[in-house]
Each structure stands twice: as C-alpha cells, then as structure tokens.
Symmetry: C2
Subunit: 202 residues, 2 copies
C-alpha cells in the first residue's frame, strides 16, 4: 500500500494514525500541496479531485477522501461497529466532520499557518471561527454523556473528528468552554499505538 | 420510520428517492427551515446540528446526515456494493459530494431561490459557481468511461450526486460543457420507481 500524504494535513494524519493503530505497513509518498504537487497532470491522473490523502491499494486502485480511506482500512476491525445503526452513526459523524467541522476548524488553521498577516483571506477568519465553535458545541452536547462518539467504543468516527480538533488552537480556537471535548481528546490520545500529527511513520 | 424533511432540500430528496426505490413505507414530517423549524429546542433535542433530513428509525433512534441515512437504508441491498473497495468508493463519492459539490452547487441554488436580488450573500455566487464547475469537471472526467459512479451499477453514490446535480440550473449552472454528466443524469432518472424532487410521497 502507498499513501500520498502531506504531514501538514489533518486529513492525512487521520490515515497515518489509523495505520499505526492497526500496525499496517505502507509506503509514504510526501506531496507538497503548497508547491502544487497535488495539481500536476501526473497526480490528477491518480486523483482527478487533486487532493491528499490518496491511498493506492495493493491492487493498484486509488482511493480518495480521508474518511472513505478510514472506512476501507477499518471495515472488519473493531474500529467500526457491527450493527447497522452503529455503522450509520459512525458515517453520520464522519459526514458531520467533513461538512460542519473541517471547512471551519481546518481552514482557519490553514489560513493562520500558511497565509501572510495581510493576506485577504484573513478576512474569512471570524466567520470560520463562528462556524467552528458551532461544531464544537454540537460535539460538546453529544460528549457530555459519552466517552466516545458511537457505542461508547473508540472508532474511526473518533479518529476523523480528533484530527483537526486536537490542533484547533493553531486556528485560533479556544476549547476552554468545551470540557467534554477536551476530556475526549485526552481519551483518544491515550489509545494504544497512538502517534502524534508530527510523527513520521517508520 | 419517520423522515423529518424539507421538500426544497436536495439532501432530503436523496432519502425520499431511495425510500421510493426500495418501496419502504414511512411517515413524512415537513420542517420549514426558512421559518427556523429546524432550530427549535424541540428539534435540536432530536438533532443537535439542527438540520434536515433526519430519520427516526423504528427503534426511535435519530440518524442525521443525508448520506449516512442512505447508507443505513441501503446496506444489504444491491444499491451498495459487496466488495470492500466498492463500498469505500461509494463512500468516496458521497464524501466528495458533501465536501466538493454540495457547498457550491446546492448553496448557489439556495441563494438564487431564497435570497432577495439585493441580498449581500449574492456576492458569493461567482466563487460558488467556480467551485461547483470544478466539481462537475471531476464528475465529467470520471463518467466519460463509465455509466455509473461505482462498479458500473446504480448505487447510493449516484443518488447522492444526482440530487443537486439535476437541479443545478436553478443555481445558475449550465451543464452544456458536461455531456457525460448529462447522460448520467438521464440514466438515473430512468431507474425503476424514480420520483421527482417535487413529488410528495404516498
């Protein structure tokens, strides 16, 4: 298996974290998205949507979208529930992550880390922060009575939501008002075979 | 089963279309999102993220996110592949839909249909259209050599992408440059038990 990856990306970190926790070997191929390496004709032939992470399976099939890759790698492991409703709830939270969380929490972090102080996109930050805080509020409500997102068991839904939540401070988010989220972040970080977002595999 | 629904919403239409095609009976509860009915304390107790569609299962469990609802209803039917890679590819396209397609194609349609001609959010339209066209371009590339999105078979990935694609003109999109997408739209509309977005069930 090959993972086309950017160490900066929380979406890529989701896959690296899962692969570490499943002890699956793979080849890492670093793609520098800031230099346009995910938009070259060569890369677009692998993923027409021009994004990382991208998984190349042992059969040579290319699979895009971080949360689809998590599902592919974790199906038939204990990181995805066996019940129909539990599986759908994992997908519900992964879709929440991509629609209501990542565009605000991850993009605010990107703007803060990659764009100059006078860049016009800095004007997006107040709205991104407002929507990101709304996502943390939904998570806080859910986690007030739960240890993990689905079935009281660590799953790929937790991995998907952890990736950008645990570095939200880099996007200017203060999680002081979300104690249930902060305790859940600690529970995820204490799982076996945990790796940090900055840890290179191997 | 109960479906909390808005007839205006393509996300809700996905679920109504699937339920019609599976011939599953259900109770429809109309939620007027323009009047804030998805943000009342009563509704937020059912879905803290305040969105429709929302499915209430026969067991009284609330399931949010249109594509998670599709997965729940279609798992173990022929509308989801049996192979691990096929299933992951269906999820890939559903996540593409929510991240790279819906925020542009659906939101442009919303702005055009629901906001006054002088509303400040009309300023978003050029960027929404640019990103929406990029999504259609990715779909066109994929469909040039395929009849459906995954495994040459109609699946919930097609339903997810059809919902807002087939009314993209209402958001100001011209699909003339995307013939493969237009032929695929016709193939979806000719599936057994197809219903239109404006058809009330029952």
């Amino acid at each position: 298996m090959r993972l086309y990856d950017s160490l900066e990306s929380g979406n890529c970190y989701k896959v690296r974290l899962l692969l570490a926790q499943l002890s699956r070997p793979y080849q890492l191929i670093e793609i520098n998205t800031d230099r346009g390496e995910s938009r070259t004709p060569e890369f677009l032939a692998k993923n027409p949507n021009g994004r990382v992470p991208l998984l190349e399976t042992d059969d040579g099939v290319f699979l895009a979208e971080s949360n689809a890759i998590l599902w592919y790698l974790a199906e038939a492991t204990e990181l995805i529930p066996t019940s129909a409703i539990g599986r759908a709830q994992v997908l519900q939270w992964m879709l929440f992550e991509q629609y209501s969380h990542e565009p605000y929490v991850a993009v605010a972090r990107y703007i803060m880390r990659h764009l100059a102080d006078n860049h016009p996109r800095r004007a997006e930050l107040p709205e991104r922060r407002k929507q990101g805080l709304a996502a943390f509020s939904v998570m806080e409500t859910h986690l007030q009575s739960r240890r993990f997102f689905v079935d009281e068991t660590y799953s790929v839904a937790d991995i998907a939501l952890y990736a950008y939540s645990h570095v939200a401070d880099q996007g200017g988010f203060d999680l002081a008002a979300f104690p249930a989220v902060r305790h859940w972040l600690e529970r995820v970080a204490s799982q076996p075979n945990y790796i940090a977002i900055t840890d290179k595999p191997g």
